[in-house]
Each structure stands twice: as C-alpha cells, then as structure tokens.
C-alpha cells in the first residue's frame, strides 16, 4: 500500500471507529465509578453521619486487611495464576506472631520478621509447585490452604493464643504482645483531626500505591502482564517466565502475611476462629476490580476501588439498619454484576 492510500484508509477509518467507541465504551469504562459515586451520594442523603471523616476512616479500616490481601492476589492474577492460600497465610501469620510473642517470648519486631518470612516461603513453595511441579494454580494453592489451616493449629493443639493461656503440657504461657506490635493495630495517626488514621489504613494506601506503581509503571510489572496474556510470547521475548510467576506468588504471600500481622495486632490475640472471610472477600475485591475503568484485566487501582466499593456498600447498608446476615448476599451480588461488566460488555471479554 502506498503512503497516500494508507493515509486515505486511516482517514476513512477514524470517524467510524470514534463513533463506535462513544456510548457503550463510556458506559463500560465509567459505569462502575458512576455507580460508586451514586452510592455514596445515596447513603449520604439517606443516612446521617455517613459523610463524616470518622465514617470514611471506619470504611477504610473495615476493608484494609481484605484490601491488602486483594492487592497481593492481584499480582498472581496478573501472571495468569490464582492464589487461594492467601486467607490461610494471613491466619497463619496471625497465629505465628502470637505464638512467637506469647509462647516464645520474642519481641514484636522478630514476630513481624517471622511472619513476613512465612509469607515469602509459602509464596516460593506455591510458585515452585505451580511452575516446576506443573500443579495447576488453583489446586496447588488450595492444597496449601488446607495445609496451612491445619498447620497453624498444631502447636497449640487447636487453642487460641492469648497471654496467660494454658499450654498442652500444662504450663502457662506468660509472654505478652509487645506494645510496638499492638500499636500496629491500635495507633492512629493525626490527619487533619487528631488520632484519625489507623496504621492499617495507612498500610493499605501505601501498599496500593506501591503495587499499582510496580504493575503499571515498571518493566517488571509490564512483563508480568505479558506473561499472563501470552506466556509463550513473553518467553520468546526474553522474559524469565518462571521467575516472574514465582515472584508473583511471593508478593501474594508477603502481602497476605502483612494482613495477618495487622489482624493479630488489632485483635491482640491469636484467635483461631477469625479470618474466615478473608479469602472470599479479597478475591471478590480483586475480581470486582476487573470492571473498574473497563480494564477487563487484573489491576491494582481496580482492586483498591473494588475493596472500597464493598466496604462503602456494607457500611451504608448497616447504617440503614440492614441486618448483618444480608452482607454476604450483597457482596455476592456486587461481584456477579461486576463480572457481567467485565466479560459480557467489555471489548476484551468478548474475544
């Protein structure tokens, strides 16, 4: 084709394509954001006190731990994988930090280091199972989930951990949660108002910005997207595909363990029964994120918005006196709607 022909072809294509991109694409792109804004408006008009800074912080705090887990699982979704073990990594980290301080008498910083190491190690094992042992991602991480749920109960024979608890051998555990560790769950930073922002919210925001920047603006993030979209093409473009995949699971594991640390710090004990909803809530947030801005792919910004969306909805409904047992139903409904946005309406989904 000659240059003039090419230019003519381009000129002929442009208005036609622009017309097509108008309405439908805008609906897909901004639909979810509009829904979010509309929801905030609705709740602030129909309930009193919804728009206060305290309420906003409360919402952020309620989604901070699931949000952090969701950001981690986003990394595995980006490389075309999935991590079902995040919930149990978080509860394992919670139990491990409690055990380290209460039973072993270690200080808070060591406990944090142990938890992060557990997250990283679980991530490496997940990655190796998937990449080298060729176990499908869902199955490998499902197996790891079971393993960890069981493992965290063994040292205390299934008991929750708190100062003064009786150990299986009859002795009493006299260690205490160190004040620095508890501060992670209870300290609030001043932000326009005194004692407003909890550590977990600051962590969520910091990690969201970190992973967003990593995925969108570094070459590593770009390569991870390439691996998820066409692994063979990424390999033939020189990417160490296996290393990228393992790193994704390490990120996921470490993020989950951070979530677990914050949970332990908030509760002040190693509660065997808490954290049941973490996996489903965080996976839902990441999947809702697909629909944000019409991305139709895992993305950190969408995941953060997805977590926020669920938090705002639940808070609003609670303030309107909706009973607690409707919460899971509402979350599920939001997820299904978001998935319809992603797969039925968007251009990528239709491929």
């Amino acid at each position: 084709m000659t240059e003039t022909q090419m230019r003519q072809a381009n000129a002929a294509l442009r208005p036609a394509l622009l017309a097509r991109t108008s309405l439908r694409d805008h609906a897909i792109r901004y639909g979810f954001i509009v829904l979010l804004v509309g929801m905030v408006l609705f709740f602030s008009l129909s309930t009193s006190g919804f728009t206060s800074p305290q309420s906003a912080v409360f919402i952020l705090q309620s989604v901070s731990i699931t949000g952090i887990l969701a950001l981690g699982v986003t990394a595995t979704l980006v490389v075309g994988g999935f991590d079902l073990s995040i919930g149990s990594v978080a509860t394992t980290a919670m139990m491990a930090s409690s055990y380290a301080m209460v039973v072993m008498g270690l200080d808070g910083w060591t406990a944090v280091a142990i938890c992060l190491a557990i997250g990283a190690i679980v991530g490496v094992i997940n990655g190796v199972l998937i990449v080298y042992m060729r176990v499908p991602d869902l199955l490998a991480t499902l197996g790891m989930m079971f393993l960890l749920v069981g493992l965290q109960r063994i040292p205390t024979e299934g008991r929750s951990i708190a100062t003064g608890m009786t150990m299986p051998d009859g002795t009493t555990a006299n260690g205490t949660f160190s004040p620095e560790f508890l501060a992670l769950g209870r300290h609030r930073f001043d932000f326009f108002q005194p004692n407003l922002l909890p550590v977990s919210v600051v962590m969520l925001i910091a990690l969201a910005i970190l992973i967003w920047f990593f995925l969108e603006y570094t070459r590593f993030g770009r390569m991870m997207y390439a691996v998820g979209s066409n692994e063979r093409a990424a390999q033939l473009a020189g990417a160490p595909v296996k290393a990228y995949k393992i790193w994704a699971y390490v990120i996921s594991g470490v993020f989950a363990s951070i979530g677990g640390i914050l949970l332990a710090a908030r509760l002040g004990r190693g509660d065997i029964a808490s954290g049941n909803n973490l996996l489903l809530d965080s996976v839902a947030a990441a999947l809702i994120g697909f629909a944000v801005l019409g991305a139709a792919k895992p993305n950190a910004f969408g995941t953060a918005i997805g977590a926020l969306f669920v938090g705002i909805l639940l808070q609003g409904l609670t303030m309107m006196n909706a009973p607690y047992y409707t919460q899971d139903f509402v979350k599920g409904a939001v997820l299904v709607v978001a998935l319809v946005f992603t797969f039925a309406l968007s251009k990528r989904g239709r491929r």
């Binding site: 036609a16 394509l17 570094t218 770009r222 033939l236 020189g238 990417a239 491929r351």
Partner: protein, 503 residues
C-alpha cells in the same frame, strides 16, 4: 463451461459497526469445479466464509443452494444443508483431548438421532471408513492433541468430508501442510471434484492455485474485482485484480555476505540427525527451506536459546556463543521473529507499541520505570517504516489485519540493532502486498547484521534471499546462490533424495 451453478451468492453485504467489509459480493460455485478465491488480507475473505458457514449473519443479499434459499443461522445448520467449511484455524476443527477416531465421527455423536450410549467399537468402525476414504494413514487411537499440526489439519478435513458435502469450503488448508501432505489433499480434492462437489478454495499460494483452480475469483475491499475462467487461466490478471495494481516480480540483486558474524559448527538438533554447519555473513539474507517437520523451527530455536542443541559449537563475532535462554540470546544480539504469531508472538492484551517494545523494556526504561513516551516514539517510527495500517500506535492488535499484525511482529525486532535476525515463517498468513513490504524492508535494512529466514515456500525464498540452504531430516543438505539455482538439484534435496543424486 456447462457445469451447473449449485451455489449462488448475490449482492452479499456485511458491515461491522459502521465499517463495511463486504459491499455487494456476487459469486457462483459450480458443481465439479474448484473456484479459487483470492484476496489480500482484509479483503473480506474470512467474513465471506463465516457468513456462508453460518457463523455471522449477513446484512443484505441472498444465498441460494441448489435453487433454494440458503439461510443458515448456525454452523451446524449450514453443515446439514450440505455446505461444509474447513476453517483456517486448525484447532477449531478438532478436539485435542479426544482420539482421532472420535474426532472423525464427532458430528455423528452429537447430531440428531445419535445413540444415547457411546459404542467405541462402532465409532472405530465408522472412523476407519472415513479415514480410508481420505487415504488417511494415522493411528486412530492417537490423541489429536499429540499430533503435529499437519496431521491435525488432515483430521479436521477428513471430519468435514464425512458429511458428504455439496459445497466444500477450504480456507487456506495448506498453510501448515508439507508438500507431500498437500499433495494428498489435492488428490482428494480431485476426487471430490470428479464426484461433483462444488469447492471454494481460499489460498495465497500460487502453487496450490495452479494445481487446482478451474476458476479464479479475485476479491478486493469487499467487492469482486475479477472472475477468471476458461481453458487457460490468467493467473497474473487474477493477482493484479486482487492487489488492484500491477505487481512487478522484482528479481533479487544477490549480495555477497561480508565478514562472518555467526559461525555454526557441527550443531546437532535431533538425536538421529547428522551435524550441520553453516556461516552467516554481514549484510546477507540466507533462506533455509525444506518441508514441514524437517527441523527448521528446531534450528531457529536452538540459535535463539529457546531450545538446547545436542552438540556442536557456535561462534558469534568470533566469540563462543551458547545461549542459555532467550534473554541471553537477545542480550547477545540474536533475535527471533517466531512463527505462528498468535501463539508465539502477539500479547493480545497489549496494544501495538507495547507489543513492539516487549523484548527491549530494559533498554527503553529508566531505572526500571517504563518510558512509554520512548516506546511510542519508536513504534511511530516503525509504523511509518513498514507502512503498518492503523489509527495510531495505541491500537489494539485485534483491530489489525493479519498482514499488519505480522508487520508489528517483524517491527518489534527491528526496533533495536541485531547481529543475527532470525525469522521463522515470517510470511505465514500474510497477503502478497504485506509480504513484499516486509521482504523489501528486510533487504533494505540487512547491512550490519546477518539475516536468516526459515521458509517452506520456495517462491518466498527466491523473492528475498541471497543464499538458500536446504534442510532435510534435521540437517542441512544443500546450498544455493539465489542467482544460479539448479532447480532439479534443489527439489531433489528438499525431497530428501540428495544422497541418491550425489552418488
């Protein structure tokens, strides 16, 4: 010709959104004749096929099969009416996780009146009949997923044949077949033609067209631009009607290779193969030709570090070169434009510039932070360079025609200077105009590197290479300068008869 026009398309129109793809196509297919449909990529061939086979709904026009209106709404309906299509994408035609016998009889298993229970012995018996009629010599119990691409294609065609179609549509069926297999397919087409089947054959390959065509129809920009029939077909006229311009078969001005860049010694790429050796010089384009399955891709991947050779040494610019992986090869300046772009090249979630910059993100980014401005500038340069038809460098890949997608794949590896540029079947599924553009660009940019092109089609090798190496049974069996080709020797080497001719 007094053959009966069994299938008639009149005034067929189709648009995707506001973009017209077919603008009133009139086409008749005659029973007992092969009608070849020629068209550049983006001319509307695939859309035409998909409407006729019931995949897309048409916007206007009529389809008539044996005098009656033919209005398929699903592929199954078209098939029952007697219009059977073998699509270009082989894996659409077979189920990889089932064995050959089940694949061959799949439509009987799922059609109306099928037995509730699955009887493996009856399936095997029916499959054997289908296979025998096709001269298919495959293990019927083999999993289709384990078969090479060419065999899968044969299964897919055999499965379509089991319907005893009135009209058979073949969409580039030979694009991944070796010439022996293609000949089996041609024999089968001859038999079907003799039985009175009307055949629509879509292909870019002149050798196929010369072998098969009774009539040629040229399609360009959604309109029929030429119908050629009669005793002697006007092939050049058909090509011109398809391209809308006079093509000039420009003979290659053969160059000598300069200083040696890559020296390959006693490389073994298969356990039973003899070692192979060759040297690539600065500025020359060397084509490696040979049938499908003789190890061309294995050689390409061995040079690129995507596969480890069983023995031998390589020297790049005088230094030992043994790539551990693809990243190492790229860092050493050895690039590969892989074949089957949709499997091995295109990242579908990435747009044009992201696809182009993929291997060179390290070089393009500052402190590992990607620099989209640099990537876009480089992509704009390449779009102009290779005359890629698109709105901008931010277009998604699936908006481009096959030829333009391939140009993006080649452009990806031209954005940075290479020492050795390897291209594996770069003209696969690419129209003639795009093929010329790519070949011209390769020749124009050849100095400063060695270029190695793996091509099954001889015509393509003649069109772009200075030197031609012939592969057979995973080793190199012959070498020719493109200015003094001994066709008899070359063909004998390709056919694996080199040893007989040497003695």
């Amino acid at each position: 010709m007094d053959k009966e026009a069994v299938f008639r398309i009149a005034g067929l129109q189709k648009a995707f959104g506001p973009i017209p793809v077919l603008r009133g196509v009139d086409l008749t297919l005659k029973s007992g004749a092969v009608t070849v449909l020629m068209g550049a990529n983006g001319a509307g061939k695939s859309t035409l096929v998909k409407i006729v086979s019931g995949v897309y709904a048409r916007d206007g026009g009529t389809l008539t099969l044996a005098g009656e209106a033919f209005e398929p709404t699903t592929p199954a309906e078209a098939m029952r009416a007697g219009v059977v299509t073998v699509h270009q994408n082989i894996n659409d035609g077979v189920v990889a996780d089932l064995d050959v016998a089940t694949n061959l009889t799949l439509d009987r298993l799922s059609g109306k009146g099928a037995h509730l229970l699955f009887n493996p012995r009856a399936v095997r018996r029916q499959a054997r009949q289908v296979a025998e009629r096709m001269d298919l010599t495959l293990d019927l119990s083999a999993m289709v997923g384990d078969l090479p691409l060419a065999d899968r294609q044969m299964v897919s065609i055999a499965r379509a044949m089991a319907h005893e179609p009135k009209v058979l549509i073949l969409d580039e069926p030979t694009s991944s077949l070796s010439s022996a297999e293609a000949n089996r397919l041609f024999d089968l087409i001859d038999r079907l033609r003799a039985r009175g089947v009307a055949i629509l054959y879509i292909s870019h390959r002149m050798s196929d067209i010369r072998r098969l065509a009774n009539r040629i129809v040229s399609l360009r920009d959604g309109r029929i631009t030429g119908v050629f029939e009669g005793e002697k077909l006007d092939y050049e006229g058909a090509v011109n009607a398809m391209l809308g311009q006079k093509i000039n078969l420009n003979a290659v001005a053969v160059r000598e290779g300069g200083q040696a860049i890559l020296d390959v010694k006693a490389l073994r790429i298969a356990s039973t193969a003899k070692p192979l050796s060759f040297t690539l010089g600065d500025g020359e384009i060397v084509a490696v030709t040979g049938l499908v399955g003789v190890g061309k891709t294995a050689l390409a991947e061995s040079l690129f570090g995507a596969r480890h050779p069983l023995g031998g040494q390589m020297t790049l610019d005088g230094r030992a070169y043994a790539p551990r992986n693809t990243g190492h090869a790229i860092a050493s300046g050895v690039f590969l434009v892989a074949k089957d772009r949709s499997d091995n090249g295109i990242v579908p979630d990435f747009n044009i510039y992201e696809n182009m910059s993929l291997p060179f993100l390290r070089r393009l980014s500052s402190f590992s932070v990607s620099r989209r401005d640099r990537e876009r500038a480089e992509a704009q340069r390449q779009i102009e360079n290779l005359a890629i038809v698109c709105r901008s460098e931010r277009d998604e890949m699936d908006m481009l025609s096959g030829g333009n997608q391939q140009k993006v794949m080649v452009a990806r590896w031209l954005t940075q200077a290479s020492r050795v540029l390897i291209l594996d079947e770069p003209f696969q599924g690419v129209d003639i105009a795009a093929r010329r553009d790519i070949a011209k660009k390769l020749r124009a940019s050849a100095s400063g590197r060695a270029t190695l092109v793996f091509l099954t089609e001889l015509d393509e090798a003649f069109e772009c290479a200075d030197r031609i190496l012939v592969m057979s049974e995973h080793t190199i069996v012959g070498e020719h300068r493109n200015s003094e080709i001994d066709m008899d020797r070359l063909l004998a080497e390709i056919a694996g008869q080199h040893e007989a001719s040497e003695q």
